[in-house]
């Protein structure tokens, strides 16, 4: 036993070393930390109140006082970007964890349950995925009107199938392994088998997938808010900043430039981190998706 523990420890150190020597992994981790830190500490870092208007300084280009310029109402773009990160973090945290949880449960049921249920769930996944996200959002907003809740619902609904499919495939592979059969022959309930034995083996790839899905979720929020069907003004979000900037793109181009940069950095960070984690923990999935 001690030998086994030692080799497990060595393996863990080996993985950590691989992670720390991979420039993509380290860059990704730094960008992700930057995303979390700037969103959480936005009220303390931001030089101005994101909604404070300063009409005399309106439409000012980048200066030392306003490093990313100001908008039509003289609000500081940099402060609005920092506060917009909070919306992105909120959507990413709730959206990703909710769809991961639902996708995990549905995927395990599909993989472990009877054949007809599997087919039904696969069909549901396919039907949901056959709505391009923006089209689904437009159709929903036509009925409900724009709100952050709609954005969240769209994000959760459209990303469930990817988790569900991965969880289903992993569960199918486990279904006939000896330890699951042993549990069943001992009379363990389906609940116990799924949550005590299948879940710990399925959750790993799903967490890596979740890291890769964060940029997707953040882009959906920014895109919908850009169209004016997500976060509503005056609340600052990266999408509303781009929307307001798009309207004055000829006179104040710094707004659409500054509003896009955090979106790119966040996407890069989570993509790098997700890929590095996948390469280290699940080499079979390979680098090119």
């Amino acid at each position: 036993m001690p030998e086994a523990r030692e080799s497990a420890g060595r393996e863990r150190r080996e993985k950590l070393k691989r992670f720390l020597t991979d420039w993509q992994a380290v860059t990704g981790l730094l960008l992700v930390v930057l995303f979390f830190a700037s969103a959480i500490f936005a009220p303390w870092i931001a030089p101005y109140d994101p909604n404070a208007m300063d009409i005399p300084a309106r439409m000012s280009g980048p200066t030392w006082a306003h490093i990313a310029g100001t908008d039509q109402l003289g609000r500081d773009t940099f402060s609005r970007i920092l506060h917009g990160g909070r919306v992105a973090l909120y959507i990413a945290a709730i959206g990703v964890s909710a769809s991961l949880a639902i996708g995990l449960v549905l995927g395990m049921i599909a993989g472990y349950g009877p054949r007809w249920l599997d087919n039904l769930l696969l069909l549901a996944f396919d039907a949901v995925r056959s709505f391009p996200a923006v089209i689904l959002a437009l159709a929903t907003v036509a009925l409900t009107g724009p709100s952050l809740t709609v954005v969240l619902a769209i994000v959760i609904l459209t990303t469930i199938p990817s988790y569900g499919r991965v969880a289903r495939t992993a569960t199918l592979a486990l279904r006939h392994t000896e330890f699951i059969l042993a549990e069943r022959s001992l009379g363990a309930s389906t609940n116990r088998i799924l949550f005590q034995h299948v879940m710990p083996n399925v959750i790993g790839p799903l967490l890596i997938l979740a890291a890769m899905e964060v940029p997707v979720v953040v882009s959906i929020e920014a895109g919908l808010s850009f169209l004016g069907i997500g976060v509503l003004p005056p609340q600052a979000s990266w999408g509303t900043i781009l929307n307001e900037g798009y309207l004055v793109i000829r006179d104040a181009p710094w707004m659409v430039i500054a509003g896009g940069i955090p979106l790119i950095l966040t996407t890069l960070g989570f993509t790098f981190l997700g890929e590095a984690l996948r390469d280290i923990f699940d080499p079979r999935m390979g680098r090119g998706r």
Binding site: A127, S130, F131, P132, I135, L138, A139, G260, G286
Partner: protein
């Protein structure tokens, strides 16, 4: 092959039915009278009664769904609330702009991305491979609507190389083409890197297979091996990827149409949402999703035709 075709078409039909059911129930899930929703709150009681009778709103919901299905199958998607023109005719006018955009966007991405991926795989570690790798990561990270906004800012507002809005004069091909360049560039850019990466990965895998080694042992020219043997197999996952990614491409096209004010189906749906013009929204959503389902179906059939192993698996 026949059994595969049968199953695959059956699956597509069921998905289309599910989409129809979803669209139908969406309009019925919202509280309030659908006639008022469709006609607006200022509609007269007579108009509401007439609309309810024409749309069978006073009959059981199940029967209404059957009517809805029947007319949708016949290509009747209702009428525009404002102009009273058939929705199908309006969509037909707009469809061309969207199809031209989607095909051009995907077209240039395939023409550039696939060869880049092949070249990178043939010489892994070369400067071309590294540049392709950095380019892929860089472009995948930028959401396509941001590419549209930045392309608009750089190429039409700052440099004034290309027109910013609209789809060009009807009948003037050169003008229409110049209006197509920027939106097509914007929706295709992310795909160039994505395809290059995908083709590179599957090419590297295929190039290690024994049959490729025997081909080169027989003295076949490398170009022949890459194009005739390896690419034929390596392209399969890429085709699936293109089919699956079409939903994303449609989404990007919607953004590009709105940003460049191009009068396609996406812009039509967007405007109809602001106007609360429900028949147009419903028809547009149905056509967009139907198109997507068709593309996925075609890509699956193409793969089944190219790769006999797939046929037996469904």
């Amino acid at each position: 092959m026949t059994i595969y075709l049968f199953k695959r078409f059956g699956l597509a039909a069921v998905v289309v039915m599910a989409v129809l059911l979803l669209l139908f129930s969406m309009l019925h899930m919202i509280p309030g009278n659908p006639a008022i929703l469709a006609l607006g709150t200022r509609a007269t009681p007579e108009a509401i009664a007439e609309y309810s009778a024409r749309m069978h709103l006073d009959e059981p919901v199940l029967k209404q769904f059957v009517y809805f299905l029947g007319s949708a199958v016949q290509g009747d998607l209702g009428e525009d609330v404002f102009s009273n023109r058939p929705v199908t005719a309006i969509i037909a006018e707009r469809m061309g702009f969207s199809l031209a955009l989607i095909c051009t966007g995907m077209g240039w991405a395939v023409l550039l991305g696939v060869p880049l991926g092949c070249l990178a795989a043939v010489r892994p570690g070369s400067w071309l491979d590294r540049v392709t790798g950095i380019f892929s990561v860089g472009t995948i990270a930028v959401p396509s609507f941001l590419v549209s906004i930045w392309a608009l800012l750089l190429f039409s507002i700052q440099l004034r190389w290309l027109p910013a809005i609209g789809a060009g004069e009807p009948g003037n091909f050169a003008d229409q083409l110049s209006h197509l360049v920027l939106p097509a560039f914007a929706i295709g850019l992310g795909w160039v890197g994505y395809l290059a990466r995908m083709v590179r990965a599957s090419m590297l895998e295929v190039m290690g297979e024994p049959y490729i080694r025997s081909a080169s042992a027989f003295g076949l020219k490398p170009r022949r091996i890459v194009l005739g043997y390896a690419l034929r197999v390596a392209i399969l996952p890429t085709i699936t990827l293109i089919g699956m990614g079409f939903g994303g491409l449609i989404s990007s096209a919607v953004f590009a149409e709105i940003i460049f004010a191009r009068p396609g189906v996406g812009k039509m749906i967007f405007d109809a949402v602001s106007d609360r013009n429900f028949p147009i929204v419903q028809g547009g959503v149905l056509v967009a999703t139907g198109f997507y389902i068709l593309v996925v179906l075609l890509s699956d059939l193409l793969i089944a035709w190219l790769d006999p192993r797939v046929r037996s698996s469904l």
